[in-house]
Symmetry: C2
Subunit: 243 residues, 2 copies
Amino acid sequence: MIHEVDPNSKVPLHNQVERLLRMLIRQPEYQKGAFLPKEVDLANQLGISRNTVRHGISKLVNEGLLVRKKGVGTKVASRKVSTRLDHWISFSGEMKAKGMEVANYELKAQPVAADEEVAGVFHISPGTRLVKLSRLRGTQEGPILLSLSWFHPRLGITGEEDFSQPLYQMLEKEIGVYPTVSREEISAIAAEKGLASRLEVREGAPILFRKRVVFDSDGKAMEFNKVYYQGEGFSYSIDIERK
Amino acid sequence: MIHEVDPNSKVPLHNQVERLLRMLIRQPEYQKGAFLPKEVDLANQLGISRNTVRHGISKLVNEGLLVRKKGVGTKVASRKVSTRLDHWISFSGEMKAKGMEVANYELKAQPVAADEEVAGVFHISPGTRLVKLSRLRGTQEGPILLSLSWFHPRLGITGEEDFSQPLYQMLEKEIGVYPTVSREEISAIAAEKGLASRLEVREGAPILFRKRVVFDSDGKAMEFNKVYYQGEGFSYSIDIERK
DNA sequence: ATTTTTAATATGTTTGAACATACTCAAAGC
DNA sequence: GCTTTGAGTATGTTCAAACATATTAAAAAT
């Protein structure tokens, strides 16, 4: 049962709708996946316009709390995943340790021309050919992260290597290069359209963005990596010691 | 000069508006702070409804690319800030090193009763009195972060200490406790209403959220800290070595 | 039994209009 | 010169309606 809105309140109706929904979705049935009341039913029940109801709903959709599907309905969005920031254990290894089966939604290695950013990282000329690895990964419930890696041309990576195995294991065994230091940059960004559709989140959803350069044991840059994690469903943990 | 929308296109009009705006805001004048064309002017120019224009604009607003102010206008949002994740240097020290003057928008230390989360972190009973420090900090341009700290009661912090000085310096000198390890959890979340208004971002904006427990040299939890950074305007950097 | 078609469903898009409200700036008053 | 008031400005809110569209399920056809 949903409550009412107060048409005489100074709080805009769409904000009141938003509040009601935030309380509504706490109910176990919705947490478990039941469909929320239909827009038109909410509108009739609350005595307000369907578009005003939609306005309120879109707040929670924008926050990734709800997902909508035309012809189907609206429901509470799924739950979180976390990983250790400072672990070098592979993503799939860590997810397996948590009892989650990793799925590769996309796995593609292909030669590309280095753009200015990649060229700057590796100190090579823009346009230089090198291999880019693109992986869309997650669990049975859906994608969690999009990882893009570029490899320094000196590694001699061709794109024909077996990238289905753990990446650094492959680099050590087949390329003979030892990843040693990772220089990271972490921020929160809003998903633009292309990224949003690949990660199956709404446009503008918070994305945990990790950009890093991996150096080998000689201190030379070997991999440039960008990873986009679904924001709401993901967190890093790390222990930092004072020096 | 703005382009047109194609009413016969399969792409929804509001998406076309969004695209046009993404291109429009690249122009230097808008990057420098000029107001975008008014909604009603865009609507007339494009031959579509003002609400459809608003729908398109709200996409960029939701992403933090644009900011709107009633009675004033719409303009491109401001730029980023970053800090080292693994540095113990104070926020104000680091900003000063970057030539940015830190402003404290809010600084409040007060005794509170520990809620369940805080109690769980410190292994004390819920309801136990301890001191909570709340700081809203940023630059002259506006707030960047909201930091909330709770201190273990055994430290004997009263709330009367001088919190305007660097926190850990104060803890060492006046309390005699030495912060040594920080156990961190980092994620991207969407700003809820209260947080959004304090950080002056839109509701739902991506927020870089850092939750950590700081331990002293004896390995005992001394501080529980939550920091919310404006997502778009902030990033961490860190170097991680393989063990 | 399987495939195709159709209808129902619920969200998605767009509209024009009217009104509300926060903000700015100029004019008026002290 | 300073403060208050009022008008104008541009975004914010709400509406009811009509139509579009992706999805699902049932009915019809094979």
